[in-house]
Symmetry: C2
Subunit: 331 residues, 2 copies
């Protein structure tokens, strides 16, 4: 079945790239990435660029957005909105977003907490249905809770959200990366996964039942998985980079991001699973101090486009399976 | 001034090595480490070994401990007690402990929560005065909270404990590793170090004041430091392995241990700072599944002995400075 977003030109998927906040490195890493030979071999990038910036040459397809006198945060939002509209209209097969500043964006769009939450709203998807996955050469990991204060993490964990996050990570590994029987480790939330209940009870009460539900859901989908957990997060990531797990499900932000950024510096890609379209981004922020210094590294942006193109070309990707996944979890 | 624990033989410091729980890999990695040529070039190891195990040959000095019919947890405690007594009596200059099982040890010694806390009690040091530092070739990091449930972390953070932990990490880098002006990053406890208060308030209320106190204390000691924080933990560790910080202060266990174990697999050493004697251990647990398979890796144990020997030979180490450090923090 043809799906919105699958339109291609010259056999290559079109990938919409929003240039991000121009006070940071977004526009320069976007530009370097859409000119990268590896990107041009994999897709047709379309760059959504601010009217207020010089129009780049040798950048392929460029869509100029917004008003020339818009500030950097407003201009970044104009690019983002136009690029999302293109993906939702099927004019591009995937969306890649260069970084915006949460603080500056919230100043022009009150309530803005980040691309992930904003995109969920735009796609009418519940925030708890989208999952942040970091997919890189050495580490592939998702986190159950995301942008919440640490004090809210233990109370925010639910059996359903843990199982759903694990299922999306499993699906990414299986359908999008082609791993037949993904081996997953599910982290505990407490040190040493609570050491048998000495250091907390979430492992026993919430995480262990979620591991059972996840195993059952994968089985209902006809899939196979070698699933361990809850296990200590530090051991899980070490075993992962040593090749004993294909992916790790973290319970909170820093478990996942410390691992991804350390193991795959400048090569980790942030993938938003659970949306009806493909969306990736680099694993860094606006890095204002590096803007226009010539020292910004465009590799994570390049990898984000390459992964988006790969997933866009995958006709059995997660975005086509969301109803099946929900049904499998319900049992 | 000659200090207890500084006695030497043949010019090399004596290092007491407790063999750990024999249901795990402790005895075999201890034995492999005390036979390692690099270890023998750096110190005189003394192996504290269970009466119930075959006495090893070609292992240098061996002290046999406990009763032959003691179970593995009791036997490990017998070795631990004898080796600590030796260090406290000045018969050895440092202590290195192979892993014990928290669960099995607590079964024979109710209330046991780990070597670190047990050693603090044995040395009559307040638990909040000892700090767990991971010191490896790529990552050097300490954590302010340690073996507590994640839900207790935000409420356990105090300005004093953060500043004290940072000061011990600074002292380790400066006096024991010889870094003239250690550059430190102090992590936030929340994702993105709370993004300016959007994701929590501990950064503003507790961590930022502690960074000020830490800066003042280092200055009072006549030292220098390039101190940043609170900063996002994931960025801090990435900058650290890229060489832009000499050490990172984490707020909780998994921030530090995920980074240390990923960046320095089998080479990270756990150093207990704040004790009146030198104590290190490998960064792994008993790993029962690897015991007697021939697959246990003794490198972290070897590195633990090498670091203990190095610090024991350092006459200006942290253990000699604790009073000065406390005074510097009081102001």
């Amino acid at each position: 079945m043809a799906m919105p977003g699958d339109k291609k030109t010259d056999g290559l998927p079109r990938v919409a790239v929003s240039a991000g906040d121009s006070r940071g490195v977004g526009p320069e890493v976007s530009l370097a990435a859409v000119r990268d030979p590896r990107v041009l071999a994999a897709c047709r990038p379309v760059l959504y660029w601010h009217a207020g910036l010089d129009r780049p040459r040798d950048a392929g397809d460029v869509v100029v957005c917004g008003r020339g006198d818009a500030g950097p945060a407003r201009a970044a939002l104009d690019c983002l909105e136009a690029s999302v509209d293109a993906v939702r209209a099927g004019e591009a097969a995937a969306l890649v977003t260069a970084p915006v500043s949460k603080e500056r964006t919230a100043a022009v769009l009150p309530g803005f907490r980040g691309h992930t939450e904003w995109l969920a709203g735009r796609a009418s998807v519940d925030e708890s249905d989208v999952v942040m996955i970091f997919s890189g050469p050495r580490v592939r990991t998702a986190c159950v809770t995301r942008h919440v204060a640490l004090s809210a993490v233990p109370g925010s964990l639910s059996i359903r959200d843990i199982a759903w996050s694990g299922l999306l990570l499993w699906g990414h590994l299986h359908w999008e990366l082609g791993i037949a029987s993904p081996r997953l480790a599910v982290c505990g939330v407490n040190p040493h996964a609570s050491d048998g209940g000495i250091l907390g009870h979430e492992e026993e009460r919430v995480i262990a039942p979620a591991v059972d539900d996840l195993r059952a859901a994968v089985s209902r989908l006809g899939g196979a998985t070698d699933l361990v957990g809850p296990v200590a997060a530090d051991a899980a990531y070490r075993e992962h980079v040593l090749g004993r797990h294909d992916g790790v499900l973290a319970m909170f932000h820093d478990q996942a991001t410390v691992a991804a950024k350390l193991a795959d510096p400048f090569l980790a890609v942030n993938l938003t699973a659970g949306l009806p379209f493909v969306r990736t981004s680099p694993d860094h922020g606006t890095a204002d101090d590096l803007a226009s210094t010539g020292r910004a590294d465009h590799r994570s942006m390049r990898e984000a486009i390459l992964l988006a193109a790969r997933i866009a070309s995958c006709r059995s990707g997660l975005r086509h399976r969301l109803d099946d996944l929900r049904a499998a979890l319900r049992g």
